[in-house]
Amino acid sequence: MTINLKVWRQEGPDKPGRLVPYIVEGVNPDMSFLEMFDLLNEVLILKGEEPIEFDSDCREGICGSCNMVVNGIPHGPQKGTAVCQLHMRHYKDGDSIVVEPWRATAFPLIRDLVVDRTAFDRIIAAGGYVSVNTGSAQDANNIAVEKERADRAFDFAACIGCGACVAACPNASAALFTSAKIAHLSLYPQGEPERNRRVVRMVEQMDKEGFGDCSNHGECEASCPKAISISGIALMRREYMKAMLSS
């Protein structure tokens, strides 16, 4: 089938960008969305044009590299699906698709669809860990963790750090990403001793990076390929209040 694409092209952070139309022919319904881009890029290279730069790695929805806003929706229309797992069988011959990068001041654009998401690493560095030096751990079964609690923690730990939550959020807020790590670790007994310091520092860092505030639009949860629940954001706020009151 043939797909009419409009793709955001921008040579560099300080260069102007624009949507450029492309007609991609010979798209197979079994192709993934990124494979359609591979196909287009091959054609572009052979025509002597510059291919479209985009990030991807695992192509199975777990590394969090891929980031395309497809017709106004980060990762596209399928529920719980990263764009690398989106397949062309959901489109019809002749469909028009607009593709843009994540847009947020805290995710500066590098080139075309590639953005810089290192702000997320710095948020984790501010406290998204348990301080346990290698070798100092006790036997793994010394602390029992209620299964239901562990399962709930896992739901938050499943975050792949893709940034779709920020991209989807009308405020460009990183609340869902930040809260996912806070929720995971504060639900675990192992994370208990550092919980106050963790939430305060991570929130501080999130502010510093220039992400917007969370106004509870919940768009992040809808776009999250791992369907991380915004109840994590509520939990983060409870943790935060506890931390403030106990200081």
Partner: protein, 645 residues
């Protein structure tokens, strides 16, 4: 090439003496230590942030070393380890089903078809338990029982339940644990992270690894980094086959450049082909997806009895189906090890019994299991895998049997290292999948994660300390000619790639290379095919040098340029893999030479002649490499022929 094995003096494994169970503690008791105050005077370059790299960076920084960490992706958390699904082994014996350090060691050595070093594998089994402790303390959400304690499951090649898992995302959770530990050290100022960097060369000064050249993938700048040691944790090279379950950025470049600088490459032909992957659907396909091995616990593998039968699966009656694994291996049935299952699937397809549109697949059928235990139980066990399968293929595996086919998954070969994980270049250590150390000719499920973390968390801190404490490491600075030379060579290589301006894209070359490798250096190999592969690769390399087209410029983000460099290295590696496979005139583990099989068509080892590690030395461009042999001595286990009948 089949003369008696002479142990190469260059390849001293440096395994400590003593009883198997005492070797590691003997090492620890006698190792030289670095004074805590001196540790901060040393800089260690850690290339790669997968399980091996991230855990090494974190542990070394905790001890006080200054660490510089590098990765290709935009964040260290995206290293390929993130994609591992099934689990991680440890000899905890929580289920009390008879597991022990010895048994884990023995299963691993046997699973590897007796082509790994006893001392290393035993150490791995000893350390396995501490890994679980460490990860749990970090908050890794392993699966738990209702009582709140850790759950285990069983995996191929073992008769005990020793696999710890975190849903179908074990690699992700373990990597995030290590990544977070590393980020903590970044916050503490002990680790400096360099993301979107590709290592293009190793800098050797006075015979020791003292630095690396990286390309900043955003600006294209070449950068020089100096250190007292280099840790290569850059993963496996499965992408030499173009299609594999590896992530798109997985590559051999870092390891290959070290090889060209003098590090020996060991057993390059040992690759693992995983039996249960989603089959290729067309030429456009960029990557293959693994379906966890655990599916074979409930799924039955079959093909039509009649070649060329193109009826839909539900129209093929029971009597026209061949459940070939159950037929041929009555005692293990669908649960035979990976290499056996893969080879049999290929055999069926070769006999034109393949299914699906491409005829390059076999069925994995859950109808009986659903009838037996109900759809909800199956969905509980494999729900997320079924969903993933449906996303990719559009078929519902609850209704139609899955189509599966083997795919390249893991590479047991890698840079040769001694017991200290040090390569033949002093100061260059190799960890994780990038080295060859622990899995012999075939890796058991759930033991790559174990090895990566053992190397990174628990081995390297001691062996590196020993090296630093016992080695003269005079200050060098990056203005030295060795750095300049390496940088210039890297630049020249990039300029060449861009200047060919031919008619074929990098992907086209990579696909072609992949076809050659898959057809002739894949699941079944023979002398003629391997020879053919070598000529074909030589031809392809020649064409690459003349007809490659890389768009864009060197001083911006340019993924085609990155890939071009990697494919160039893959072609050289591919040739070496074929050469290595040709040299190994036996079948063992993932290496199946058609000339060497038993009457029933099973792999036939030749311990007498090939009980060694083949470590290749690079002798210059277009020169024939030289093979060095490390004799594998089995002091503690008895070698037996594997049988799964």
């Amino acid at each position: 090439m089949s003369e008696n094995i002479i142990t190469d003096p260059m390849l001293d494994s440096k395994a400590p003496s003593g009883k198997l169970e005492e070797k590691w503690s003997n090492f620890l008791n006698t190792t030289k230590l670095v004074n805590p105050n001196n540790k901060r005077k040393h800089t260690v370059l850690v290339v790669g942030t997968g399980l091996a790299g991230a855990s090494a960076a974190a542990s070394l920084a905790e001890l006080g070393y200054n660490v510089r960490s590098f990765c290709i992706q935009d964040s260290p958390r995206r290293a390929h380890s993130i994609a591992a699904q099934g689990g991680i082994n440890a000899a905890k014996n929580y289920p009390d089903d008879g597991d022990s350090v010895w048994r884990l060691f023995y299963d691993t050595i046997k699973g590897g078809d007796y082509r790994a070093r006893e001392s290393n594998v035993y150490r791995l089994a000893q350390i396995s338990n501490s890994i679980i402790d460490q990860c749990v303390a970090q908050g890794v959400p392993f699966a738990r029982e209702y009582g709140g304690l850790l759950a285990n499951r069983s995996f191929g090649g073992a008769q005990v339940s020793r696999t710890f898992y975190a849903r179908g995302q074990t690699g992700q959770q373990l990597l995030l644990g290590a990544y977070q530990a590393m980020e903590r050290m970044i916050d503490a100022g002990k680790v400096t992270q360099f993301s979107r960097r590709e290592m293009l060369d190793l800098v050797v000064v006075d015979g020791k690894a003292r630095g690396i050249i990286t390309r900043n993938l955003v600006t294209g700048e070449l950068e020089r980094h100096m250190g007292d040691a280099v840790l290569l944790c850059t993963g496996g090279y499965g992408n030499v086959y173009y299609l594999s379950t590896n992530a798109k950025n997985s590559n051999v470049t870092a390891a290959w450049r070290c090889h060209r600088r003098g590090a020996y490459f060991a057993n390059p032909c040992f690759t693992q082909i995983h039996p249960t992957c989603i089959p290729v659907s067309g030429d456009y396909q960029s990557k293959l997806t693994l379906m966890s091995e655990s599916l074979r616990n409930d799924g039955r593998v079959w093909v039509p009895k009649k070649p060329g039968d193109s009826r839909k699966p539900d129209q093929i009656p029971e009597e026209d189906r061949d459940y070939y694994l159950e037929r041929k291996y009555p005692s293990f049935g669908n649960l035979v090890p990976r290499d056996v299952a893969s080879r049999n699937a290929k055999e069926m397809v070769d006999h034109e019994k393949g299914v699906g549109e491409t005829k390059m697949a076999v069925y994995l059928d859950f109808a009986d299991a659903i009838k037996r235990v109900g759809e909800h139980v199956i969905s509980e066990r494999y729900g997320n895998l079924f969903e993933m399968y449906e996303k990719i293929t559009g078929d519902d595996p609850y209704k139609v049997p899955m189509r599966i086919y083997p795919a390249v998954h893991y590479t047991m070969g890698g840079l040769w290292v001694d017991y200290n994980l040090m390569s033949t270049i002093p100061g260059l250590f190799v960890l994780g999948e990038a080295n060859f150390s622990d899995h012999g000719a075939n890796r058991l499920g759930a033991s790559a994660l174990m090895q990566g973390l053992a190397d990174g968390y628990f081995v390297i801190s001691h062996t590196l300390g020993n090296y630093i404490a016992s080695t003269e490491l005079p200050k060098v600075d990056t203005a030295r000619p060795e750095f300049a030379d390496a940088e210039n060579e890297s630049r020249a290589r990039l300029t060449t790639l861009l200047s060919i301006k031919g008619e074929k894209t990098v992907t086209q070359f990579h696909q072609e290379l992949g076809h050659i490798m898959w057809d002739y250096v894949g699941m079944a190999r023979n002398r003629e095919g391997l020879g053919h592969a070598m000529t074909e690769i030589t031809r392809l390399r020649e064409e690459f040098g003349r007809n490659l087209r890389v768009p864009g410029s060197p001083d911006t983000l340019n993924k085609n340029l990155e890939f071009a460099g990697r494919v160039a290295d893959y072609m050289e590696l591919g040739e070496l893999m074929a050469r290595d496979a040709l040299q190994r005139e036996e079948s063992c583990g993932g290496h199946f030479r058609e000339e060497y099989q038993t009457e029933e068509g099973e792999a036939q080892r030749d311990d007498e002649k090939f009980g060694y590690v083949a470590a290749w030395e690079y002798t210059g461009a277009n020169q024939t490499p030289v093979v060095h042999k490390e004799n594998l001595e089995f002091e503690f286990v008895k070698l037996t022929q594997r049988s799964y009948k």
